[in-house]
């Protein structure tokens, strides 16, 4: 079965799967800026990689982009003009505290449903949607539980695999548990990571740290909240919207105070001792949060920025992480 590809955490995989299509949330590969047809100045490396993926993915039958970030919103224009893959732009409101924004999100899910039907999907019955939501919820809980017995990189990979492949192989992926290594407890905070960024987890471990909270978009922070079983059976689509739109905290939210409340609770519960702040060059949303985070928290914060295609970047990051951990040990 061909996949419907996307990266945004606000796209519910369950909704795609309920239409009989394969939802595949991608962990992107970095692309060399010189390989792109577009100019790269000012373009976030993640966006560049997404365009490349959408252009070259042979297993996809559709692509979903959201309005959460302005550059990704504009990627849709490029896809419409340059890519044969059917593309859908989903409006995900930045505001969240009023009923109209929540309703807009639900309406966009319905519109996404019509797009999925045009790709060959079938509008799901409530029972079908409920079953799939339960399946995903169980698998997601399994992945989340595995955090305590997996090295941080494997945990991040398990989350990515769950997003890419769905719940089928989840139990197998997290079954071979390994001993947790010790070290300074760190949180990694930021936007989405790319495959190569997962090396950061190894570097951190080799330098005497361990990631106890993956608060990146591709980590735990990008997973929806657990479904309320009663509401799920009463109004599954509303519960899906509630868990995604209402359950994922992000820097793009206006206001984004929910993100800080979530971070505070997680930092406390996991005894976080330091923060690795990971951002892509030209990502304004996360870049603007860096100083605010530093002002807000008493924990030490290390800024790791990546341009996406430069080896020097990697060496610089290694040195900075080592120095950071030396100071914390």
């Amino acid at each position: 079965m061909k996949a419907v590809i996307y990266t945004c955490p606000y796209v519910p995989a369950e909704w795609i799967a309920a239409h009989g299509l394969r939802a595949s949330r991608l962990l992107l590969d970095r692309v060399d800026s010189t390989s792109m047809f577009i100019r790269t100045e000012g373009v976030c490396p993640f966006v560049r990689s997404f365009i490349s993926e959408a252009m070259n993915n042979k297993d996809a039958e559709g692509v979903i982009v959201t309005t959460v970030c302005d550059q990704m919103r504009r990627v849709f224009d490029i896809l419409v003009r340059k890519c044969e893959l059917p593309a859908f732009l989903m409006n995900v409101p930045n505001t969240w505290q009023n009923i109209e924004s929540q309703k807009l999100y639900v309406d966009e899910l319905k519109r996404l449903g019509r797009f999925l039907s045009r790709l060959g999907g079938k509008s799901p019955s409530n029972d079908m949607l409920i079953n799939i939501m339960l399946e995903y919820d169980t698998a997601r809980a399994t992945v989340l539980t595995a955090r305590e017995c997996l090295p941080a990189r494997k945990y991040a990979e398990a989350i990515a695999a769950f997003g890419r492949d769905g719940p089928d192989q989840t139990t197998n992926r997290v079954r071979d548990t390994e001993l947790q290594i010790s070290g300074v407890s760190l949180a990694i905070v930021g936007g989405p990571l790319m495959k190569q960024d997962l090396d950061l987890f190894d570097i951190i471990e080799q330098s005497g740290g361990r990631i106890v909270l993956d608060a990146t978009e591709t980590g735990e922070r990008g997973l929806c909240s657990k479904f309320d079983r009663r509401r799920l059976h009463e109004e599954p689509l509303m519960e899906l919207a509630n868990s995604y739109f209402g359950g994922i905290c992000d820097a793009s939210r206006r206001p984004n105070s929910g993100l800080y409340r979530w971070l505070e609770a997680e930092f406390d519960s996991r005894n976080v001792q330091g923060i690795i702040f990971c951002r892509h060059l030209w990502c304004d949303m996360w870049h603007a949060e860096l100083r605010r985070l530093k002002d807000w928290t008493d924990l030490p914060v290390l800024d790791i920025d990546t341009a996406g295609d430069n080896e020097t970047d990697g060496y610089r990051s290694i040195n900075r992480i080592r120095a950071f951990l030396e100071m914390l040990q």
Binding site: R39, T67, D70, P93, T95, D107, R254
Partner: protein, 467 residues
Amino acid sequence: MSDMPKRITLQEWDLRYEQLSKTGAYQPDYGGPLSRHVEGGDQRLLKLRFDNSAAALRLWNFLLTEEDRLHEARTAGRKIVGTMKDLGTVPVMAYSFEDIVAFYPDGAWWIPCVMELGAGLLEIADSLGIDESFCPVRAMLGAFVTGAHFPIPDMLICSVGATCDDFSAIAQRLNGLGHPVFWWEIPHRRNPEPDEPAVNLPGGFSAPKCQVEFVKSQLERIKAALEELAGEKLDERKLSAGIQKANQVRRLLTELRKLAFTAERCPLPSLEMLIAEMLAIHFCSDRQETIVVLKELLNEVKNRVSAGNGVLDADAARIFWVNPVADLQVMNLLEDCGGRICGTEYLFTHALDEIPEDLPPLEALAQTALADPMAGSSIDRAQRICTDIELFGAEAVLISRIPGASHCALEGRIISEIVQETFDIPVLEIEVPPVTDSMRPTLNTRLQALVETVKSRCQTSLRKRRR
């Protein structure tokens, strides 16, 4: 001194001001010689070329005294509302109240240019973690921190959603610094689906009816918040009257743009036209005076056009300009290189298009908000640009990138491709920071190349026609 239209320096304006004063020319209470603004720190004025008409003098003085007007409004007990990002919609509602003055703190993005970085606003933004990788609108943060430019508004209203990330992030930073922001959502304007009820928006775009209704719901929230601030109910009659006044401004600008962009000889320089267009977004904090200023400017232009006079050579290359410039001097530079402006898209065409008066006023405003070129796709925006290129007869397009702006990274290529597919005319992209002095030779060369290309194409087509 001759009364023939021309571009003059600030020093020349001082002489001309004396001459005008001697003839007893009327000066409004904010009038006076332009050079007095340099004493207040507006150093860039020393390097600009200005139109030499009394109407242009009034325009400049009106623009450069806005901060005084805002402080006077505060002293008079009027409520000051900082509207952010939507560029032209919320102020129409705000000015429909008796005692609200609205302005765009976003306008602080020109302070680093006008004061030649002397105000230190960008350094303050740097210190708050908003560095040069962001759009120069980050100067707004500095203006809030120093409080030295505009009074801190009683209320801040900011549109988010289909907006640029820079501004959204900077506004959030502002919120985090203790300036509460009333957020409202402008959704990405999309094409209606088949069988979906659709609405034709001012300016020619269309949108699903449900999106208009959504924006209307957002405007209702804003209306309620403004009513609470003002202690005054805003009924349909008052809002309709506000829309009619805004439309008066928009009609004046439509006529002014048409004359200025299509006249055989350019009757008004691009810098004055840019400022005139900007008046549409929040009336420079005085709606009635905006109308007077624009009427005077329009009369001047009409007189010049009917006399066949202009400020530039008749063979100036006709350029369509996309995006506002952070350094005003670049508008002069294009004219120095032999170009003239024939069409603009400064990110707020929706503030120039008339607001429908035959609809319930909130719905009409919702349509206007949704017609924002930045709320839709770059493809839509390019098509609007194409429509206006045809209307004004532009021969080339200049896309002026705003450093760091999230939309500029990807939209330029799309606009460029669509324009070239449609018209086969040259398109050039430049990047304009707040002060361009160090890169002036590069900019000069690029603008000269564009102008030369246009002129050589004109000569070639002329030769072809003669054969």
